[in-house]
Symmetry: C2
Subunit: 327 residues, 2 copies
C-alpha cells in the first residue's frame, strides 16, 4: 500500500462536514470559524505508548485520537478537527493500514470530532502524531492550568490506576495466575490502557461553573497536579484516602508488590480531569457532572506555597517514591 493509496483512503473517509471546506487531498485543510480555538499536539509511538501485539488498529487510533482530545477536554473546549500524521514502516500489511486509517475517522467521530487532514511518512517505527483543535464561544470560557487559588478545593473525575493496572496485566500475563479478577473487571482495566476515552463532556460541563484551573491526567495524578501547582503558583495538598481507585487495581498492585496509592497517583494514562474550584462552586459542578455518570471526588485543597504533598491519615508527607521525580 503506497503513501498515496493511504492518503486516498484518508480522503475518502474523512468527513466532508462543515466547517471543513477542503479536507484531505489538498495542500492543507481549510476551516472557517470565528472565536477562540484551542490546539494541542500529541503523539503515540509503537513500543512506547502502544504495542502492536496488544492493540487492534482501531484501538491504536482510539488511543492516539483520545489522548489528543483529552487536552481539548481539559481546556473545557468542544472537540473540533483532528489531523493525523502516520509514520509507517515499510511492509506494513495493507489490511492493517486500512483498519488504522478507518479507525482515525471512527475514533474522531465517536468523540464528536471531524477528521480533517492527514499525512503519511515512511518511518522505521510506527507512530501517530495527532493535532486536535477545540473551540469555545469565548476565550474566557476556556479553563487554563494557571487559575488555581489558595482556598480552592482540588477535585477529579472518575477513578485512577486502571490504565497502569491494565498495562501490567498485558505486559505480565503471569500475573493473572495469582490474581482473581472477573473477565469484566480485567477487560475494563485493559481497555483503560488500550483505548482511553477523554472526558470531553465533563470538561465542557465545567465551563462557567466556577472551576478555576483544569488539567487532564496523562503523566500521573501527582505529576499533573504538580504541573498545575507550578502554573498557578500555589501548593496542592491531597488526601491519599480520598483518591478514587478503580476496581481491580488493588489486586493488581498487590500481585506486583506495589503500593496501590502509588499506582493510582503515579500510574498515569487514566485521562481523567483534575481541577480546582472555590468551595462555593462545588454544588454547581456536582450538579453538572452527576448526569454524566463519571463521578466527581474532592481529594484535596489549594494552599499557598509550591509543590504537591500527600496527606496520609491527616499527616502531611512528601509523595511516595515513584513519582517524586515529577516535582
Amino acid at each position: 500500500m503506497s503513501e498515496f493509496d493511504l492518503i486516498d483512503r484518508l480522503k475518502q473517509i474523512a468527513s466532508p462536514a462543515l466547517p471543513v471546506l477542503t479536507g484531505i487531498g489538498d495542500d492543507a485543510a481549510v476551516t472557517v470559524h470565528d472565536g477562540p480555538t484551542a490546539t494541542s499536539v500529541d503523539a503515540v509511538v509503537e513500543g512506547v505508548h502502544f504495542n502492536l501485539a496488544w492493540s487492534s488498529p482501531l484501538q491504536i487510533a482510539q488511543k492516539a485520537v483520545g489522548t489528543a482530545l483529552s487536552d481539548i477536554a481539559a481546556m473545557a473546549a468542544d472537540a473540533g478537527e483532528v489531523y493525523v500524521t502516520l509514520g509507517v514502516p515499510a511492509g506494513s500489511p495493507r489490511a492493517f493500514l486500512e483498519e488504522l486509517t478507518d479507525g482515525f475517522a471512527e475514533a474522531s467521530a465517536s468523540l464528536g470530532a471531524v477528521l480533517a487532514g492527514g499525512d503519511t511518512v515512511s518511518s522505521p517505527v510506527m507512530f501517530v502524531s495527532v493535532t486536535a483543535v477545540g473551540r469555545a464561544p469565548a476565550d474566557e470560557q476556556l479553563i487554563l492550568r494557571s487559575g488555581a487559588r489558595e482556598g480552592d478545593l482540588v477535585a477529579v473525575t472518575g477513578e485512577f490506576g486502571g490504565a497502569c493496572a491494565g498495562l501490567a496485566l498485558l505486559a505480565q500475563p503471569e500475573l493473572e495466575e495469582v490474581i482473581e479478577l472477573s473477565p469484566g473487571l480485567r477487560e475494563a482495566l485493559v481497555l483503560r490502557q488500550l483505548a482511553p476515552r477523554p472526558r470531553l463532556e465533563a470538561g465542557r460541563a465545567m465551563r462557567g461553573s466556577g472551576v478555576s484551573a483544569m488539567i487532564d491526567v496523562s503523566d500521573g495524578l501527582a505529576a499533573d497536579l504538580g504541573h498545575m501547582a507550578r502554573a498557578s503558583g500555589v501548593a496542592i495538598e491531597i488526601d491519599q484516602n480520598r483518591v478514587p481507585v478503580q476496581e481491580g487495581v488493588p489486586e493488581v498492585a498487590d500481585a506486583r508488590g506495589r503500593d496501590v496509592v502509588d499506582m493510582a497517583l503515579a500510574g498515569g494514562e487514566d485521562y481523567e480531569l483534575a481541577f480546582t474550584l472555590p468551595p462555593d462552586a462545588l454544588a454547581t459542578v456536582e450538579g453538572r457532572i452527576a448526569p454524566l455518570g463519571c463521578g466527581l471526588s474532592v481529594i484535596g485543597k489549594v494552599l499557598s506555597g509550591s509543590g504537591v504533598t500527600v496527606a496520609v491519615a491527616g499527616r502531611r508527607e512528601s509523595p511516595p517514591a515513584g513519582f517524586d521525580h515529577f516535582g
Copy 2:
C-alpha cells in the same frame, strides 16, 4: 534532559505574541482569529527525511518547519502558527536537544510564523511532526489544487533538481572526486536538501492574481503535477526543455549516470510552487513574482483528459522511467 525540561525550554522560547493567548505549558494553545484557516500536518523522520550525520539541529528544525509551511505557501495563505511534536530517543545529548528546540522557534520566526505549541514523546527513532496553520482574509483567496482548467498555462517558481543533487553529494562523497563544482555551487545544492525554504512570499503573491490551482513540489514535479491533474480532472503536458534546472544539477546527474531531466522532474524536495493560470493572467503574475527574485517559468499547458505527459522537442511521450509510477 527530561521531557518536562524540554517542554519548559519550548515554553521559554515560544513567542508569546498575539494571536496566541496561551502557548506551550497549558493543555492547548489558544488562538483567536476570524476567517479561514488552512492547516497542514507533515513529519520528518531520522534516516528517511534527515540524517543526523549531515544536518545540524537548526537544519533539522528548518527542514521540518519549512516543509510544513510549504503547504501553507501552496494555499496562498499567510504563515500563522506552528506546532511541533518531537520524538526523542533516550540518551539524546542535552546540547543537541536544546539547539533543536531553539531551532523550531528560530525557523518559525524566520518564515513569519509563531511557534505556538509543542510536545515531546519518547521514541526509538527521532522524528519531528509539524502542524502549520495559515490564514487568509477570505476563503476564496486560498488557492486549491483542483482549479486547473483546460487552456491554462502551467508554471513554476525557481529551479529543480537541486535537493536531489544535494542529497547525492551528501550520500556519495566519492562523487565529488569526479565532479568539479565550486564550493558555492556545492553549498547551494546541499542546503537545498538540508534546509529548504518554502515559497511563502511567492504563494501569497498569487492571491487574486488569476492563478487557478497551486501545489508545492515535495514528491517531485511530475508527481505533484499528477496530483494536481487528478484533483482538477484535467491532463497536464509539460515541455521538458522548459523545466528550469538548478546550476550544478547536470554535473551531478552525469556523475551518477542519471538523466538530468529525470532528476529535475522526479527528484522531489525542491519545495518550489507549481501552478496553473489562464494565459491572460500571466503578465500580472510575472509582475508580482519579479520583485521576489525567485524566477517564474512557464513549462506547459493544461489539456482535457488525465495524467501528465512530457513533451520532448515537440513530441509527446510518457514521463521517463523513474517517476511514471506516480501516475
